[in-house]
Assembly symmetry: C2
Homo-oligomer: 390 residues x 2
């Protein structure tokens, strides 16, 4: 089966006129999970869930010793693209088709990778590896007040031993413009995190309150947005404030509360720490002048991930010297890499656009990605024992 | 009946832990409308609706020649105060109680004064006076996609002749800190309006997109917020950007669209025009540097309202020289003043806070407001013909 044929099955699911809306455990993502089960059924694979929202399709016995996991996630950012995540799952099923029979491999769909619904990215893989307490994950709320535990239908089961997993390989669309050939191998993930900034002022009437009497937190927010951009440019890092929430959010009222989120990433941790400290300092200084208050809360911070280096070199060799490149994007593979030899393959993104409906990869590059993933899995699932792997 | 007794009946309606939520034709406001009907019933007043969402309680025949209207509105801004609007209705019923029998007076509750639900303030009085086309009003949408026509239960009936109305008097809490005695009289309403600013850029991945490659409309928005504040201060006007909407509004995505609303007011129209032009110019300049686009749309613009000056002087005289003061806030009385001799009474606001749950007036000042309104109505509804009124 060609990539384009299988891809066409999922392309319409969750597509709105503004882009893909595939929230974890939301309507479209549940349809994609059914599609996953159906793919497994067609291939005589056994489907299990792990109690954390992650879905597995096993060629052999579930959790058999030495299994190689491959896959990605179905969920999208709100109004995002169709490739970020699903490409790794579709490619995984197609790569399995190209393996000799009897290989110990499983396809996985991780839950809530984007954090678009419950706020913490890689939630499924964090639970699986014990990187987030079960109670904290269960209590995370979406914008409608539904908790992750409610959406999941129960308390997550949390960490499980991964010592039987020989390796994890996640294929993903590349998200910058860093790849000039169809397929590359991940070297490292930049340290990155999300910080919530609450700016508090005083609600008041927009028409009657003298400018000098105001304590308007929108001003402090606006200044901080510009400061974050400037500080990131100065330090060669990335800073984005793309999400905001306002109370009461009325045209004729000065806000009482503006909440902004800072997404910050840098090539190393000291640069990232310095960036967040500088943005915080400038927000606090401005709050002093605006008569407002600001508090900064880290919602998730991920240290630098250096993928298993011998494994990356081996994959590059299998793929005739495919380039090894770093990325600013977080991935489930990054979370798993602390526990299991883990690697990522990237498929070329000609425009570099991601988290947008304009995200795109060519069918030819995606087909090359499937071939590369099949070649890698063929090697990794061959007879030799785990210690020879890397 | 004392002010405090009647006030206590409505104080809990629509009160949430963040302030009052009394959207026009929403749950709490419908309860307040029932309370209004009940008050009319207790006083043998006849209740009618005008097909535009406005509610009337008549002491005599509906729309009898020479009637004096008094009242205000029930709806609040989201999470606003309890006095802005309802004070004028509660005071109207209490003032009617203090009039000699047989006076030709009616209490009115206007619909959607704040524009908090359907976006156009003074919607009920604009319809009644023909200041907004019926079809445009019917099609206005709230944030859930419900139109005003749907909420009303049919197409508004629109303009009606107001030539039988002798005068309109609206009592309202003052909203700055302009009043140092319990009661004052309105002189004029500043020209004011609402402009929607759409900032368009390119959605992209927050982690992987190089800073130099971004077209981030949040930056242009933030710059414009600060520019509006600065321009208003420079020109002695008021500018507020208290409402914002973002797409996709995700922490890890650069937005594709940021929509901000500018509320601007000034003592005269040339200052207001210059302010809006300056903000627009600065937004456009910055958009050029950010690689984004901005478009500015006037959603509602209200010219300066000078209330009937002889009537204001007469009220001030009735009230022993109560001060006459301008205001930056729009009111239904301002809309009606183009058609009928119209006046406003203000009740002192000790902190100046409005459009906030902290909005407050003392019971003693509110009681003084009722006395003042009763004295004014007593004069205005006395025998002499309309032409002697002013």
């Amino acid at each position: 089966m060609s990539f384009a044929e299988l891809w066409a099955e999922i392309a319409p699911i969750g597509l709105t006129d503004k882009g893909y809306l595939r929230y974890a455990l939301g309507e479209a993502e549940l349809v994609l999970r059914d599609w996953f089960r159906n793919q497994a059924f067609r291939r005589d694979m056994t489907v299990t869930e792990d109690g954390n929202g992650n879905l597995f399709a096993w060629c052999g016995e579930p959790w058999a010793d030495g299994v190689v996991l491959t896959g990605s996630h179905f969920d999208s950012v709100p109004y995002g693209g169709g490739y970020d995540g699903p490409l790794g799952i579709v490619s995984a099923f197609l790569a399995v088709d190209r393996l000799p029979p009897g290989r110990n491999v499983a396809v996985v769909a991780f839950c809530e990778e984007e954090g678009g619904r419950f706020g913490v990215p890689c939630l499924g893989s964090r639970l699986l590896t014990g990187a987030i307490p079960v109670d904290r994950a269960a209590a995370l709320c979406d914008r409608d007040g539904i908790t992750f535990g409610q959406a999941l239908g129960g308390r997550p089961t949390g960490e499980r031993a991964l010592n039987k997993v020989r390796a994890v390989v996640e294929l993903h669309i590349e998200q910058g413009r860093a790849l000039e050939v169809p397929v590359g191998v991940a070297g490292a993930i930049w340290p990155h995190g999300r910080w919530r900034l609450d700016f508090r002022g005083s609600a008041d009437h927009a028409g009657t309150t003298r400018m000098a009497d105001r304590r308007d937190p929108m001003l402090t927010y606006a200044y901080t947005v510009l400061a974050a951009n400037k500080e990131a440019r100065l330090s060669g890092a990335h800073a984005t404030m793309g999400r905001v929430s306002v109370e009461p959010n009325a045209t004729n009222a000065i806000p009482s509360l503006v909440t902004g989120w800072l997404d910050a990433r840098a090539a190393d941790e000291s640069t990232l720490d310095a960036l967040v400290a500088a943005v915080t300092k400038r927000a606090e200084d401005r709050a002093g002048r605006d008569g407002t208050e600001v508090s900064v809360t880290a919602e998730s911070v991920t240290a630098e991930v250096a993928f298993d280096s011998p494994l990356a070199l081996r994959l590059s060799a299998i793929l005739d010297g495919a380039p090894i490149l770093p990325t600013g994007a977080g991935h489930d593979a990054g979370v798993l890499s602390a526990h299991v030899p883990t690697a990522m393959l990237f498929v070329r993104n000609p425009t570099g656009v991601s988290h947008s409906p304009a995200e795109h990869a060519t069918d030819a590059d995606c087909e090359a990605g499937v071939d590369a993933l099949a070649a890698v899995l063929e090697e990794l699932t061959r007879a030799p024992a785990a210690e020879e792997l890397t």
